[in-house]
């Protein structure tokens, strides 16, 4: 059974359409991430699931209940906000019990629940402090505690990590993942950070301009993005888009730096009706320095020449900017085997991992 089901959901303010027909579902216990650039409607969608925004048309089901016009407090949800939204005049303990008090839970039960959650999140020593006396990471924990104490059907997270510094963000990300494993609650998690979405979610909905572009497992989204938006949004550095021309049923030509055409064999034939001009999408990590050894290990690797314009070592890997025709592409290399600036190297492009897109519809071929 699905814990959350969204059918053809629309939202508009006046004439402005924010969400244009969203379909989504989360199975019980699943971790779904909504990811997209700012203004794509992901936070509005979350607010509608929470009941903080009205529904223009469409249906939201939580469990087996249609909740379109149900009050937030009766939806059996808990939410963690980007700003944490801790009540500033209350202690951590009061913050956590506020919801239970509103719902008239007996005092003894409240104390028990606080104890359980405080132990789970290791915030026992903070219970009598005010939010103003806590660090960012501690506030984050308290905000999660306030949500966890409810034992809801559905957890909603609205960019919970974006106010933390880079290191803390990675730590808390790991903790959220562990927590989800332990608690096993259905979770909808909004983020603009594709790495967060990839690492946390069991399924990702990539959104753009008010609609879901692709809803699939992180691996499928990364390997087989349905269109150029998804391909470009997921992954950093972004996928390289190289204009190419079909030269046969299973080969394409791309422009090399010297203006000549390099012919690359496709790993699989294109479907019938594919356009003559296509866009070759290659992720930086599928670009190698070509060797015969590589070819024997990865038979789909195709080679071409490219001058190295710039090298950026990051420690764990080295990024190289390579020239192809009049465009620059990025390759990701082992630091020990990285090209040097000014060198012209023979690239190996793993065509079995490459994607081909239609340049007019932007869709995957």
């Amino acid at each position: 059974m699905s814990a959350l089901m969204i059918r053809d959901l629309h939202k508009s303010y006046g004439g402005l359409e924010i969400l244009a027909g969203i379909n989504l579902e989360a199975r019980t216990g699943e971790f779904v991430a909504l990811v997209g650039p700012s203004g794509c409607g992901k936070s509005t969608l979350l607010a509608m699931i929470a009941g903080l925004e009205t529904v223009t048309s469409g249906e939201i089901w939580i469990g087996d209940r249609l909740v379109n016009s149900v009050q937030p407090k009766d939806r059996d949800i808990a939410m963690v906000f980007q700003s944490y939204a801790l009540y500033p005049t209350m202690t951590v303990r009061q913050n956590i019990t506020f919801g239970m008090e509103s719902r008239g839970v007996p005092k003894a039960e409240q104390a028990e629940a606080v104890k359980r959650v405080a132990a789970l999140l290791q915030i026992e020593q903070l219970l009598n402090r005010k939010p103003g006396q806590l660090s960012g990471g501690q506030r984050q924990r308290v905000a999660m505690g306030r949500a966890l104490v409810r034992d809801p059907k559905l957890f909603l997270f609205d960019e919970p990590l974006s106010n933390l510094d880079a290191k803390l963000r990675v730590d808390m990300r790991t903790e959220i993942k562990k927590l989800h494993h332990r608690v096993g609650k259905t979770t909808v998690y909004v983020t603009h950070d594709q790495v967060e979405a990839m690492t946390l979610a069991s399924r990702i909905a990539v959104m753009n301009q008010g609609s879901v572009q692709q809803f699939d497992t992180p691996k499928r989204i990364y390997d087989r993005p349905t269109n150029m938006f998804v391909a470009g949004f997921m992954g950093s550095p972004a996928m390289n888009f190289i204009p190419a021309r079909l030269t046969g049923a299973t080969s394409i030509a791309v422009r090399a730096a010297d203006g000549s055409d390099a012919t690359l064999a496709l790993a699989a034939p294109l479907p019938a009706g594919a356009p003559k001009d296509v866009v070759l999408g290659v992720r930086p990590e599928h670009i190698y320095r070509f060797t015969t050894d590589l070819k024997s290990r990865k038979p789909a690797v195709e080679s071409m020449q490219a001058p190295v314009e710039l090298v950026e070592p990051t420690g764990a890997e080295t990024l190289a900017v390579l020239r192809l025709g009049d465009l620059e592409i990025t390759g990701r290399f082992e630091p020990d085997d990285a090209p040097v600036m000014g060198e012209t190297i023979t690239l190996g492009i793993d065509m079995s991992r490459a994607c081909l897109f239609d340049p007019t519809t932007k869709a995957l071929l």
């Binding site: 607010a47 929470a50 903080l52 939204a85 009540y87 506020f98 919801g99």
Partner: protein, 300 residues
């Protein structure tokens, strides 16, 4: 550091700079002191006169240092001085003012907080227009509403009563208190309200448990503002009440219009000071918070 200072040679340039700095400061403080004296002079004159004997005032003029000292004028002004036949001093009018100002301040502040809460956190279609209309009241001079109030008080049977004045000041004050509170509450993050709604709190519970505890800075501002404003108000008091029902501001005028006897400047001075004391005290105790509250947002 210390060594350098000890071994420092006399530096004529630095000494000149220090001298210039001293004179510049001196000038600034001198000007400030002069203005302070100018502002305080009237108060000083009134305080002196309230303590001088009537004969001393008659002999040496209104503006002069006291050559006598006694508190009789204060006692007279408070309890026994005769105004148009009744010899009760300002006591009754003082309490009239108090029983008018306290409820009017409390009620208008609470209504302002409620209005501000609704207009900032529970916006509805047309709430901005409503707010702008309420703002008009801030810029509306009181005398415009004299006639309508005369009509309404007559209808309610509240003419010549403190209750009538309370009603007037509550209504007249709402635009100010609403403006103050609404602008303060706008700076409280909406996420707090959303979180509380998911937590199951309703309109009133959110107001009581989340908004009000955050409100002391702005409530102090509105209370100070309303208390001084209502206490010092004169027009409505003098138009809608008379005699024993008058607030002290209106009664002070009756004092000066006394009659045929020589003007009792000592009693008048004391009466004026009695009438000015409560707002002065409020400002003395609340002034610090007043300034702080005006500049501070809800959440640091």
């Amino acid at each position: 550091m210390a060594e350098i200072a000890l071994n420092a040679q006399h530096d004529p340039e630095a000494a000149a700079a220090a001298r210039r700095y001293f004179w510049r400061r001196f000038l600034i403080y001198a000007v400030l002191a002069l203005f302070a004296v100018i502002y305080l002079a009237p108060l000083l004159v009134v305080v002196f006169n309230s303590l001088r004997e009537q004969s001393d005032i008659a002999r040496n003029g209104l503006i002069s240092l006291p050559r006598s000292f006694r508190l009789d004028a204060w006692a007279q002004a408070w309890g026994t001085y005769c105004v148009s036949g009744t010899c009760e001093g300002m006591k009754r009018n003082f309490f009239n003012s108090l029983w008018m100002t306290i409820p009017a301040t409390v009620i208008s502040t609470l209504l302002g907080a409620m209005n501000g809460y609704v207009l900032s956190k529970w916006r509805f279609k047309g709430s901005e227009i409503l707010f702008n209309l309420m703002l008009l009241g801030v810029f509306m001079p009181g005398q415009i509403s004299l006639m309508p109030w005369a009509f309404l008080l007559g209808k309610f049977g509240l003419t010549n009563s403190t209750y009538g004045l309370v009603l007037i000041h509550v209504v007249q004050g709402i635009s100010f208190t609403t403006l103050f509170c609404r602008n303060f509450y706008v700076s409280i993050p909406d996420d707090l309200i959303k979180a509380a709604r998911i937590d199951g709190a309703g309109f009133w519970r959110i107001f009581r448990k989340i908004i009000l505890p955050l409100s002391p800075p702005i409530l102090i501002v509105t209370v100070v503002w309303q208390f001084t404003g209502i206490w010092n108000e004169y027009l409505f008091g003098v138009v809608f009440t008379s005699g024993q029902q008058q607030p002290i501001t209106a009664a002070l005028v009756a004092l000066t219009a006394g009659g045929t006897t020589a003007r009792a400047y000592d009693v008048m001075s004391a009466a004026v000071l009695i009438g000015a004391l409560p707002p002065l005290l409020i400002y003395l105790f609340g002034g610090k918070y007043f300034v702080r509250g005006l500049t501070q947002g809800a959440i640091k």
